[in-house]
Amino acid sequence: MKTRREFLRNSLTGVAAGWTLPTFLHNTAVGMEQKNIAAGVQASTGRDNPITVVLQLGGGNDGLNTVVPFAQDAYYENRPRLALKAGEVLKVNDEFGLNPNLKGIKELFDTGDAAIINGVGYPNPNRSHFRSMEIWHTATDSDVNGHHGWLGRYFDNTCTGTPDPSTGISIGSAPPQAFMGTKQIGISMKNPQSYQFIDGHEPMMMGGDGEDMSGDSIGQLGFNAPAEDPSTNLDFLKRTTMDAEISSDVVLDVTKRQKNAVDYPGTRLARDLALVAQLIAGGMPTRVYYVNLGGFDTHANQTGTHTRLMTEFSGAVSAFCKDLKALGHYDRVMVMSFSEFGRRVQENASGGTDHGVAGPMFLFGGGVKAGTYGKYPSLLDLHKGDLKHNVDFRSVYATVLDNWMNYDSQRVLKRKFPHLAFA
């Protein structure tokens, strides 16, 4: 069976720059015919570009038991069963502290590598998981049904010419709505194995015997459309098929070659972040990664579940930061965590909490200006039993886009949002 890699190794020598074949190849794997893809990948991408890793806490994380307002009596009055004792909380200041299971995250905070943003939400909050998640993903006002994601709009705006599928990678079976752009939706994979053609069965759509496939003969096979706009759907499909074949090879090569530098906990989030670290250190040109930790919808018997999730969250992020540091990429990566909403102030009768609104966000990484941002919402000044938000989440997005990704946030968010000082 002929493979794509064989074909590329045999045929790319002497192909001029600006050749019309897949962007992926052009951007990332110029040195593909060499034995070691690494040289090509790293030389062409550089190590300077900032990277954002979005960490989604799905299901509505209980913000009050994540960043705990131990100094507010109302916290203990509203949560006789669920409140965390002031003595066990990992104190950040006199007002609030972290859940005792967030030890790794507390260390990051103490070493100046973490920012905590309190009271993040948006006006006219929606308490449906589906709808609120959609609002966070599309970054639209809550009374507008958006479609394209905020990162998709970023991809659309940053890519000139042919879309590059490796701009964004989400770890999971399907791309998040945040990735949905008009031009493309990035790559999503559960693991490098799933981003491969089954049993090595790469389709041979090019034909030919590889040996004499010069750039010219490739052109004859239908690859002669201009790079900017493949004019027909057939051209577009051929190009994307090539992109798929090459990028799946690159992903497999990178993950085979690039190992993690530290051990990660045995959790799923840790496994996903370990893969992200491999891809970053392995030289992928990707600027945005997306990972997800679900299970936060704790309507009943919250404590056990939430403890496990906090431990998983903290352990995975902590290992990821250590790994990136050891691999020499820590300063160009920022992790941003969010959840679609926080939970109600008052616990329910089932030892759980119901859907609420505002909650905390975290940022981690070498480039983060550590500290606490946003005013912690008062538990005495509620709206229908919920905290009032003090920071619009789009201010956090705007700060990441403008000050970290060096990209004009107004082109993505459609208007100006005030910045926070974490970046």
Partner: protein, 508 residues
């Protein structure tokens, strides 16, 4: 009126194109025209569809007389733990019902008894969207699906009024919460932005006023239909599109449809779904005029479209990127598996980004090039490989969730295959699926074909028509094709995969 295609230009390629676009690639199972049929014969047969549901078609649980009671059981007085268990059981039942509607509908699409009716239902589903993310009750989906199916070719005006009162839509766009004291604008906004006019053809005030006119329709959690609760309806005076009156929902729809933009918006969207993107203005003008002249009936618009010369132009034939449903349908034709195991099929669609009853947002599916990414192409190829060759569904992204091979598929398997499955089941909980290649006439044709005829036979079977010459050359040069093998089954599996994995197969 668009110029109709003359009989002299009518042939196999045009028939195949019509069946691919107005259906899922196959003629209606009953009363399909014969070889000498004219374009009118074909189009009129496709348009001749039943106007109401046959109750015998419904999934069993739909017909349960105590459906609503059974689902409505009140758990509030039960002890905490029992209450939670019951709730969980009910959520599970709701999910099963939604899956059941998905499988039921996919089966109808693949069987193509009325291909155009099903294809149009899929269009309306992507237009008047409701999603299982928010609408949890299977019966609501089933009711809405039938509304789209049996009113989809009739009056657009009546369909639009009905969808505003449809339980699934009332839940999806918050109509159930909308009342005189607090009108919810969600439905009114999407009605104008997405369902009838398009962005920029109305004002924010129009939305506010229309929202008042839509107040008052309520649907119980498991109710079959909504009712107008008079005291929650705002009967007061409204000003909408410059007119003032005590408008209700029907008045709003009638006023919207007086806008020429509405007739253009909907006919352009139909053309883009069935023919190609960005149609020439004269095409839209003509279809929009037909739409208005026929009191907003959909059928005359479809008839003009499917008979028009432009519908069969170079710009249209084999230029459309297959939706996952279309891709699965054409693959199932190649495999010739009837019935196709819909439990597997609906999961395939989910993987490929077109989970039925769950469009990604109220705007439906983007369609076209948005179906294609490196990820979905790898998935399409891996799923095709799995269905053609059999194997571990987990490897193709379907997870280890397939624990049972559907009975109809079991029945079609050889004793050897059955034995293999039985052995596998003894060893583990999940099973590898068998090859779904059942195309006996292809096997026979393959064995009779000379060496020269083999590739043309494959191309005809897999692509249903002539393909781009460069693509054909690339197939001729494909070293992985097995055109001379003495093992026909192995050769066909390998060859069909190669052709299905080729970009040409993504087009219809």
């Amino acid at each position: 009126m668009l110029k109709p295609i003359p009989l002299s230009q009518w042939g196999d390629v045009q028939v195949a194109h019509l069946l691919n676009r107005a259906g899922f690639g196959q003629a209606p199972t009953q009363g399909a025209p014969d070889a000498k049929a004219t374009p009118e014969d074909w189009v009129d047969r496709l348009l001749d569809v039943p106007a109401e549901a046959d109750p015998a078609d419904a999934p069993d649980w739909v017909a349960e007389t105590n459906y609503s009671e059974k689902m409505m059981r009140n758990f509030r007085d039960l002890p905490e733990k029992e209450r939670r268990d019951k709730l969980r059981e009910m959520q599970r039942m709701n999910r099963q019902h939604v899956s059941s509607v998905r499988e039921w509908w996919l089966d109808r699409m693949l069987k193509s008894e009325e291909p155009l009716q099903e294809k149009l239902t899929l269009f309306w589903h992507g237009h008047f969207v409701s999603s299982s993310q928010k609408v949890k009750v299977g019966k609501h989906h089933w009711i809405q699906n039938n509304l789209l199916r049996y009113q989809g070719m009739g009056s657009f005006r009546d369909l639009t009024v009905a969808i505003g009162r449809d339980p699934a839509m009332l839940y999806y766009l918050d109509g159930v919460r909308s009342k005189k004291s607090a009108p919810n604008e969600n439905y009114a906004r999407e009605l104008m932005e997405l369902f009838t006019l398009g962005e920029g053809h109305y004002t924010e005030d129009d939305i506010k006023e229309a929202a008042r006119a839509f107040t008052g329709y309520k649907a119980g959690r498991y109710a079959d239909k909504s009712t107008l609760v008079a005291r929650q309806f705002d009967a007061g005076e409204k000003t909408f599109f410059g007119q003032t009156g005590n408008f209700d929902d029907e008045d709003i729809v009638d006023i919207i449809l007086k806008e020429e933009q509405a007739s253009k918006y909907i006919t352009q969207k139909l053309w883009e779904y069935f023919a190609y993107a960005n149609p020439e203005p004269q095409i839209v003008d003509s279809l929009a005029a037909t739409f208005r002249d026929n009191d907003f009936q959909i059928k005359p618009v479809l008839r003009e479209m499917f008979l028009s010369q432009q519908f069969y132009s170079k710009k249209a034939v084999r230029t459309q990127i297959k939706s996952p449903v279309m891709w699965l349908a054409s693959l199932s034709r190649v495999l010739d598996l009837d019935p196709f195991p819909t439990r597997i099929g609906t999961r395939v669609l989910d993987q490929l980004g077109q989970e039925l009853l769950n469009p990604p947002s109220v705007k439906g599916w983007d369609g076209g090039r948005a179906w294609v990414s490196t990820t979905t192409l790898i998935m399409r190829n891996n799923l095709a490989h799995l269905l053609i060759n059999g194997g571990n569904p987990g490897k193709a992204g379907l997870g280890g969730r397939i624990r049972e091979i559907p009975q109809d598929v079991m029945d079609s398997m050889s004793d050897q295959e059955k034995q293999r499955i039985a052995n596998m089941k003894k060893r583990s909980k999940s099973v590898n699926i068998p090859s779904f290649l059942r195309n006996e006439s292809l096997v026979a044709g393959w064995q009779q074909a000379s060496a020269k005829e083999k590739l043309p036979l494959l191309v005809k079977t897999v692509y249903q028509g002539p393909i781009n010459p460069a693509s054909y050359t690339s197939l001729e040069n494909n070293p992985n094709l097995m055109l001379t093998s003495s093992d026909p089954e192995a050769a066909l599996k390998q060859n069909i995969y190669e052709l299905v994995a080729h970009p040409e197969f993504q087009l219809t």
